[in-house]
């Protein structure tokens, strides 16, 4: 376990370093408060710290205050070291945000025992954070596919649409539906249907960039958002998504299954003043058009004054789109 020792006096620092090395800690040293804060705010910082109260520049109390103000860091267990022994000093030290207070010269056994207390607190904190993150994931993701849940993806789309208006960038909202999914459930059962949903989700997720978004809209419907698209490649990217499902059989019991998806796509450039809901609606209309056109294909949403007349993507942009007759 890493531990920070912040102490300006070389002799005291050496004594502390040796005691901590012998106790099995990986010791990182700082000679003043400013250097201590630097160490505590780096990537993968020490979670335990022994801070001398009196140091040049920022003292130990100021380091505690600053660390407690910062909410962007994992919790660090801070022990103030001081030769000040009065009740007022101890209270002031703890009020500054220190977790514990140790008077100098330290006793090796007492120091180690107090550090073990710190380790127990940090373990508890880690478990709580892990549990909170688990709950956060459950609250925002679909339990079957681990994609964003419907409420969250709609919220994310709202944010991204506002950003695209602000930045004049292009985003594509796509509604994606598994073709003939009901017959998969009817023929092979719902467990196989779940396998198909998981595999389709995995392929969709793997086919987009880290800053694009995929969510489960409901049943066998997914919603995909491609952010900051290049207008010249948006259709081919949609085609890649379609192809990621159709090109390879899905391994399911008892037989591998040929699964395809239909996609309806709305581009923000076609609906420059539309809200997220209107883009989703437009993409949904385009999806109906793709289904009507024979499935396993993509349709682009028409301009608002032509709503209901979604066009084959290849008619709108010069990219070849695979369409099943």
């Amino acid at each position: 376990l890493k531990i920070l020792v912040a102490e300006d006096d070389a002799l005291s620092r050496t004594l502390l370093e040796r005691t901590l090395h012998r106790a099995g800690y990986e010791v990182i040293s700082a000679v003043n408060g400013t250097a201590a804060i630097e160490e505590l705010t780096k990537d993968d910082p020490p979670r335990l710290a022994l801070l001398d109260w009196v140091m040049p520049g920022k003292d130990g109390v100021e380091v505690c205050r600053e660390m407690r103000r910062r909410k962007d860091q994992p919790y660090a267990y801070l022990i103030l070291l001081s030769s000040r022994e009065s009740k007022e000093d101890i209270v002031q030290g703890l009020e500054s945000g220190a977790d514990d207070y140790l008077t100098k010269p330290f006793d090796g056994d007492e120091l180690k025992a107090r550090l073990r207390v710190g380790e127990r607190i940090l373990e508890l904190e880690d478990r709580l954070v892990e549990a909170r993150e688990g709950m956060r994931f459950q609250a925002t993701h679909d339990p079957l596919t681990s994609l964003w849940s419907r409420g969250v993806i709609v919220e994310l789309i709202t944010r991204e649409v506002e950003r695209s208006h602000r930045e004049k960038s292009l985003i594509a909202v796509m509604m994606c539906d598994i073709d003939h999914f009901k017959s998969v459930n009817d023929k092979y059962g719902h467990l196989v249907g779940d396998d198909v949903l998981r595999e389709v989700s995995r392929r969709l997720q793997n086919s987009v960039r880290s800053y694009d978004m995929v969510g489960r809209f409901g049943g066998e419907e997914f919603i995909i958002v491609l952010n900051k698209c290049d207008p010249s490649s948006v259709i081919s990217r949609a085609e890649n998504l379609r192809n990621s499902i159709a090109a390879k059989l899905i391994q399911a019991s008892p037989n591998p299954l040929q699964i395809t998806v239909s996609l309806g796509m709305a581009l923000s450039s076609e609906f420059p003043t539309s809200s997220a809901d209107e883009l989703i609606y437009a993409a949904d209309q385009a999806l109906y058009a793709a289904k009507a056109a024979g499935r396993n294909c993509i349709r682009l949403a028409a301009l608002p004054n032509q709503r209901g007349k979604a066009k084959p993507a290849e008619e709108t942009l010069p990219t070849e789109i695979h369409v099943i007759p």
């Binding site: 300006d8 006096d9 002799l11 005291s12 004594l15 009196v54 090796g108």
Partner: protein
């Protein structure tokens, strides 16, 4: 220093025992056994700390004197705090008490008391430093 660290622990132990029994300083002045316990009887490390004190102690004392000369009582209080920490770590109790008194008097801006306390601290350290030096050369020999 390098040659000092090359001495075997056994050699150091013999020299240490001899030194502890014939040191000119009282236990109040320097409780060597307490320091030895603090470093888990690691005689090499014991000497390493003494070398640091021998080198840094006079520098800190000089810094305290400079602060007094400039009338910088806050600086004097800080220098006294550093010396106090060093002395306490090395179990040099009497001198540590004097450094503590100096830290307080300077912190409370009592110039007269600070002059007196610094003089007493200097005198105490002037007694300790030769003992430390003698210990180091005894071990080295």
């Amino acid at each position: 220093m390098a040659s000092l660290l090359l001495l075997s622990s056994q050699t150091m132990g013999v020299a240490m025992h001899a030194y502890l029994s014939k040191s000119p300083l009282s236990v109040d002045e320097w409780d060597r056994q307490e320091l030895l316990d603090r470093v888990d009887s690691d005689q090499i490390f014991f000497c390493e700390l003494l070398v640091m004190f021998r080198d840094d102690g006079p520098v800190s004392l000089k810094s305290a004197e400079d602060c007094l000369q400039k009338g910088d009582l806050l600086g004097l209080s800080r220098a006294a705090h550093t010396i106090k920490g060093m002395l306490r770590n090395l179990a040099m109790h009497r001198a540590a008490e004097l450094a503590d008194a100096l830290e307080k008097s300077a912190g409370e801006s009592h110039l007269g008391d600070s002059e007196k306390n610094l003089a007493e601290l200097k005198s105490s350290m002037e007694k300790i430093l030769p003992a430390v030096e003698s210990h180091l050369s005894g071990v080295h020999a």
